[in-house]
């Protein structure tokens, strides 16, 4: 079946997923070299959820990311140099080195922040939706959260408010199978998380979160629904190949399971699709790969060269 998506979009799917993957692999390397302090939560394996969802939305849409939010920020177009500088805690970071991995935000791009407190993005998303409704703006709110956060009261309160007040919020539940170490079967009484929307009269759909095209198509329709009718939930099923954070010894899962999901990698899958459908040649894909590597290398150089924040910034930007 011939693809209905333009070639340029396929290129964007792949280049954004590659950018996210290579960025996070680079962060891992920098971590191992002791150049990144604190902690980071990587979303290796989950790139199609961020890229498919965000490319299906409009540039003016607001976004609330999870604590595992590098993919979301990069897909939404945060400057990669400023992203890397932030991970390296430098003054040219997108948050001037004061937010770090867990708090990447860029209001100019509509990113209202990654959030270190799980589930809290959901009520905040409702408030952004209230501003949109009040001003009659042409935008929606993408509210990312995970299977772990799905059990929080905040998420349920937010779904109720969004439905009650008919707010333009698309709840994007990235089910990456584990909340830190806890498998979804041990965390949720019913692992079918679409049902979380039904008590509020919110429609929900499930999609294979490792299929960037399916994610894109699903969210495209969902966005139309949100604009016209109000909130909706999309459950995007995927798998976190990387550990939860730097301290993860993977004691809760087998190597075989991780290897199985490496085979299902969304990037490999999309590359294969592009080759099978003869949309891009192997050489063209290789070229994209190299371009991305060069972008990452430049970002690392930029981040390393960026100065440390001056000490007086400890007390700046607390109050407006």
């Amino acid at each position: 079946m011939p693809t209905t998506h333009p070639k340029a979009l396929h290129k964007e799917f792949l280049s954004k997923m590659l950018l996210a993957r290579k960025f996070e692999e680079q962060v891992q390397t920098l971590f191992a070299q002791g150049l990144v302090h604190g902690t980071t939560h990587l979303g290796i394996g989950e790139e199609a959820t961020a890229v498919g969802t965000i490319l299906a939305a409009e540039p003016q849409d607001y976004l609330l990311a999870t604590h595992r939010g590098h993919n979301h920020a990069l897909a939404k177009g945060v400057d990669i140099n400023a992203m890397m500088a932030e991970i390296l805690a430098k003054s040219d970071g997108v948050c001037k080195g004061k937010g770090g991995s867990m708090h990447i935000a860029d209001l100019d791009k509509g990113i209202l922040g990654a959030n270190g407190i799980l589930g809290s993005s959901a009520p905040i998303a409702c408030g952004a939706g209230m501003t949109i409704r009040r001003r009659g703006e042409d935008r929606i709110v993408l509210c990312f959260f995970g299977d772990g956060a799905a059990n929080l009261g905040a998420v349920h309160e937010a779904m109720n408010l969004a439905a009650l007040w008919n707010l333009p919020v698309l709840f994007v539940l990235v089910n990456n199978t584990y909340g830190m170490s806890l498998h979804i079967s041990k965390a949720s009484s019913d692992p079918d998380l679409t049902k979380r929307a039904y008590p509020f009269g919110i429609p929900a759909e499930t999609v294979d979160g490792n299929d960037v095209i399916a994610v894109y198509d699903t969210v495209k329709h969902a966005r139309d629904y949100v604009v016209e009718h109000g909130p909706m939930l999309i459950v995007e099923n995927t798998y976190r190949i990387s550990g939860h954070s730097k301290s993860d010894g993977n004691l809760y899962r087998t190597k075989a399971e991780i290897a199985e999901w490496r085979e299902k990698c969304p990037i490999l899958r999309h590359k294969k699709y592009l080759l099978d459908k003869e949309i891009f040649t192997a050489e063209a894909i290789d070229e994209m790969d190299k371009e991305t590597t060069a972008i990452i290398e430049a970002a690392v150089a930029y981040g390393k060269a960026s100065p440390e924040p001056s000490l007086d910034t400890i007390l700046t930007d607390i109050y407006a």
Partner: protein
Amino acid sequence: MREITYAQAVKEAMSEEMRCDPDVFFMGEDIGVYGGAFGISNGMLAEFGPERVRDTPISENGFVGAAVGAAVTGSRPIVELMFSDFMTVCFDHILNQAPKMRYMFGGKAKVPMVLRTAAGGGTGAAAQHSQSLETIYAHIPGLKVVVPSTPYDAKGLLKTAIRDDNPVIFLEQKLLYRTKGDVPEEEYTIPFGIADIKRPGADCTIITYGRMVQLSLQAAELLAQEGIDAEVIDIRTLLPLDTATLIQSVKKTKHCVIVHEAVKFAGFGGELAATIHESEAFYYLDAPVKRLGAVSAPIPFNPVLEKNCFPTVEEIVQAVRETQS
């Protein structure tokens, strides 16, 4: 000058700001037809409609979080939290979200929201509806904390709060809602971080705020009959705190008594006492600083027990007397 109640002053401040700024809206539990648990917003629904005077479900974590999201996208929400004790179920947004966004996001965000809530005891509402928890808010950089003691201050400070580009916790005093005071018809605002000398005096500085301002003024009148001239300072805002006025006053009077309704142990009075001790005013003190606050107990239901939890006029008089001996 005309007299209005503290409750009317709060309503006037909100209504005036909503009339002149379309980005300001108001939400909370039962604030619409019901007029709010304390009747503050009577009539506001009729004037502004249900979009700008929005009844919320009993979902504090939901709607306080929504206020944060509305504020960071350019709205200027005023939220009424029915009792300040309920902040415990939405504390994430008060502590982790609203006051930290601007800093965490490198200065790009603004969170102009006001959380108005009814605080304090004396109403027979027992342990979960009577607390004075302002110290907890004052401990969080990024917030501003206001505790008005008169109708005049309530109106002027609330207008400033609504115009402020930061999250402001506005702690109204339940027992003061029906008290009356002079409030001009003309527009005015009161800046944050300016303490108000409610009664000038030469012999002892009483530093206080909220409901205890009234009691301290009554104590000062009784003390005057004994020839002790007390100065009563209402700090009005805990964060930012006007330390200069306090230090200057204690240097003048050489004595200091601190009074608040919140639990004395680890209460804001400790911060006020330390402000004096760490300043040059320390060298002027002729007696140790005294603190009065509630006993370390949950607020009891029984009215006699409850009354005995909080500082009384007699205790304030006695404390000031002791500094003079």
